[in-house]
Symmetry: D2
Subunit: 96 residues, 4 copies
């Protein structure tokens, strides 16, 4: 089945949130261009980081509940691969 | 002097980096729209978070070296206010 | 089966690492008691945070590969519960 | 003046908090030794990370308000050195 992922049913939700985040990043560039106060720029950056983390945690939750769960139910090498891949993605998120 | 901040001499550098980050976020929305693999989306989100953190740390460094340092050299309430404000911004970054 | 978890085979490894971390925290308290330089104290705190994160990521990896995988293979409510619980733990780690 | 730092007036507060954190880490080792449930162990690790971050942010706030401010008020190379050192410590905290 092509193109179906854990997040597929929520696709519109995620793309909408990401377009808003894109707008926030554009707003930050504008703030710098207009010499806005540094602390206000930093506040916006923290807000974008939180919004991105929230998107990432949602995607990860659905990935564990779909792709990883399907692989685990089937067992074998694919299950191990999917679990290792998920752990590596979690580590990148925790450390970013 | 209006519009001069710690980061002013680096303005082009920062706006350029933020435009690149904006493009990356747009790319993530497109990945989701095209049903790309969840783990690849998460990898891109971690990359954007790291890039934003790096921008924030640069802005903060220049803020401490300019605005906060000027206020501290003058002393008084303004110095205390700037220091408290910087600490609060650092806390938001550490926790985001 | 009582007392068997994903991390059981690695128990000695984890308790050894945690005893080392405990010693590092005791060392940080001593540094403060002896008026050591603040930046050196902060460096030690960052090291402890990294060491704890690394323990947490290891535990989580084994939890996904054992408890969560077993529940998923059996299916039903327990699988959903375990997945939700793991996602919540990941969110706490990412935000801490 | 030897041994006086930004945090000196708060020394007892910090050492008390660190002894509590040390006890929490010892408790985590014990949880693993007693095969406690993985998710409960992870919850404790997140709590310790948050407590350590809070200590670090307090120390940093006082460091900026004392050591760094004194150096900035005096100016010269020492001010630049202290600012660079503080920025590097902030970066380590943000990334840990």
């Amino acid at each position: 089945m092509t193109g179906a992922h854990g997040y597929s049913s929520q696709k519109d939700n995620y793309t909408k949130r990401l377009r808003r985040i894109e707008g926030q990043v554009r707003g930050i560039a504008k703030m710098i261009d207009e010499d806005k106060y540094c602390i206000d720029v930093l506040t916006q950056i923290s807000a974008v980081n939180n919004a991105l983390q929230s998107v990432a945690l949602g995607l990860l939750d659905e990935h564990l509940g779909h792709c990883v769960s399907h692989a685990v139910a089937e067992g074998g090498d694919e299950a191990d691969k999917k679990l290792a891949e998920a752990s590596a993605a979690i580590a990148r998120l925790v450390r970013s």
